[in-house]
C-alpha cells in the first residue's frame, strides 16, 4: 500500500500491523495525533505516570493501558476524550511501524516490526504527545520548521534543567528540540503553538541567551538529530537574522526511563516510527 493513501490513524495502524509497514510516520495522516510509546513493567507504572504529571511540558501523557497487561484498551489522560476515541481497535504490540526492546537497561532488539513475543501480562503502555501537531500548525501559518523545509531531522539537546523527581525517576533533565525563527516572529510562533498543550505547547525558551540558560554547550552539536542550517544550507550560527527557539521534547521521558536502571523488559517505538491515533488535532486543541 502506498504511503500516500495512509491518511488516517487507523489506516497507518492497520498497515503497520498487517504488512510490516516500516517507514517513518512523519507526514502521514495529517491532523491525526501521533504518539511516542513507552512500555514498562507494572511496578514502575505509578512512578512514570507521576513523572509525566509533574513534568507535563516535556512529558505530555495522552493515554495508557486501561489495565496492567492491556494492549487493546486505553485509559485517556486527555480531558473530555474517552480512551476508545483515542484509538479504536488498537494493538499496541503491532501498531507502531518499528520498535526498540531493552532488557535490564540494555538494547536487545532494534527496529523490529512488532513486540508480541516480549509483551507480558505485567506490561503497561504509555502514549506521549509528539511535536508533529504543532509543526503542522506552524507550516499552515506560513512558518514551516527549518528542518522540514531542508528535509533534515530536528536537532535535540540534553539540558541542565532538572525534571521534578518522581519515585524511581530521579536526576532526570529536560530534552529540548530546536527550530530557528526570526526574532520578530517569535511571539507569533509562541501564539501558534500555545494551544497544543497535550503536545509540548509553546516554547520553553528562545534567543541566544537561552542556549546558556539551558546549559547547551554548542547549538551546532545536537545530542540527537541533525544540526540546524541557514536557508542557504550553511550551518545555523549566532549573528544572523534567526534565533533558536526551544520546545520540550518527547525524548525527555525516554531518556529518564533509560537512565533509571529499570529491571526487566522495557519497550518503545523506534525514533520517528510513531503510533498514529484516531483523535484529530481539532478534537483536542482549541486553536
Amino acid at each position: 500500500m502506498a504511503a500516500s493513501i495512509l491518511n488516517t490513524g487507523v489506516a497507518v495502524r492497520r498497515e503497520s500491523r498487517l504488512y510490516f509497514y516500516a517507514s517513518s510516520t512523519s507526514g502521514l495522516a495529517p491532523s491525526y495525533l501521533q504518539a511516542n510509546l513507552i512500555v514498562l513493567p507494572s511496578r514502575y507504572a505509578a512512578d512514570f505516570r507521576l513523572l509525566c504529571q509533574r513534568n507535563p511540558v516535556p512529558c505530555p501523557l495522552l493515554a495508557e493501558s486501561a489495565a496492567i497487561g492491556s494492549y487493546k484498551e486505553l485509559q485517556s489522560h486527555i480531558d473530555g476524550i474517552p480512551g476508545s476515541r483515542i484509538a479504536s481497535d488498537i494493538d499496541i504490540r503491532f501498531d507502531a511501524p518499528r520498535y526498540h526492546v531493552y532488557k535490564d537497561g540494555k538494547l536487545i532488539q532494534c527496529g523490529i516490526p512488532d513486540i508480541a513475543r516480549y509483551w507480558t501480562e505485567d506490561h503497561v503502555a504509555f502514549l506521549i504527545g509528539c511535536s508533529y501537531s504543532f509543526e503542522n500548525a506552524l507550516t499552515l501559518a506560513g512558518l514551516p520548521p527549518r528542518h522540514t523545509e531542508m528535509k533534515r531531522v530536528v536537532p535535540m539537546y540534553k539540558t541542565t534543567i532538572p525534571l521534578c523527581a518522581a519515585g524511581i525517576f530521579t536526576g532526570g533533565h529536560y530534552v529540548v528540540s530546536m527550530r530557528p525563527y526570526r526574532a520578530t516572529d517569535v511571539e507569533l510562533v509562541r501564539n501558534i503553538t500555545r494551544p497544543f498543550v497535550a503536545t509540548h505547547g509553546e516554547p520553553i525558551a528562545w534567543g541566544w541567551e537561552a542556549v546558556k540558560q539551558l546549559g547547551i554547550k554548542d547549538v551546532a552539536v545536537p545530542d540527537w538529530g541533525q544540526a540546524a542550517v541557514e536557508p542557504d544550507g550553511t550551518l545555523f550560527v549566532e549573528g544572523g537574522p534567526f534565533v533558536p527557539v526551544f520546545w520540550g521534547c518527547g525524548v525527555t521521558p525516554q531518556l529518564a526511563v533509560m537512565s533509571a536502571n529499570l529491571k526487566g523488559v522495557v519497550m518503545g517505538h523506534a525514533p520517528g516510527h510513531m503510533i498514529v491515533l484516531d483523535v484529530r488535532e481539532e478534537d483536542v486543541f482549541k486553536v
Copy 2:
C-alpha cells in the same frame, strides 16, 4: 472567638469574614486544605491558568472563579471534586484573614482584612495548593519539619530553574522551600509527601549537591522566611547529620505574577493568612 475552636474550613472563613480574624492560619483546622490566593484582571487569566498547568509542582492549581467576576462560585481543578465541595458559601473578598493589593505592580494595601472595594466584575480568583498538607503528614509520621518544631518560618529560596513560559508569564523561576532531614530519612520523606500531588507533592531535589544545582548561593540566607537551625538552635550548615530537602513552593506563582509587570489591580492573601477550604486531605489524596 478563640483560634482553638476554628477547627473546620467554614469556621475559619466565617471568622475571617465576620470578625476580622487576622492571624496566620497555620495550625488551624487540621486536615482541611489551605490555599494561596491570587486575583487577576480577566485578560491575564488564561495565561496564568496555563502557567499553572505547565508548572504544576510549584503552581498546583486547586480552583478558580467559576466565571469572570465571580467571588462566590468556584470551578474545581481537582479531579473528581466539584467546586461546591471545595468551599461552599465562600466569599473570596472576605474569607482570607488578610490581603495584599497591588496596582500596576506596586503594593498599595498591605494586610487589609477584605478586598471588597477593590474587587471588580473583571477579576478572576485562583486558589493554589500550599505545603501545610504534607507538613501535617510528616508530623504524623514522626518527621515534623524543623521550622515547626523550632517555631520559625520555613526558609524559601529563589532558584535558577526556569518555569516553562506561558503567554505573558515569561522569565519566571522556581521558588523552593527547604526542610532539613537526615540523609537516611530522605526516601521516607519522599514516600510520605509523594501522594500530595495537589500541594507540591514529593521534593524536587535534596542533598548538599542540590543547593548548587538549584543555583542557591547560601542555604543560610533564604530569600523569604528564616534560616534553618540545627536541633540545638545553631545555624543549619553542611557537615552535620542533616541535609537540605527542597520542595516546590507556592511563592513561585506569586513571584511570576509580580515580575510580569501586569497592569491594573492584582490581589492576594497576605503570607501565612490563607483561605481555608472545606475539602479535606483524605478527600483529595490517596495516601
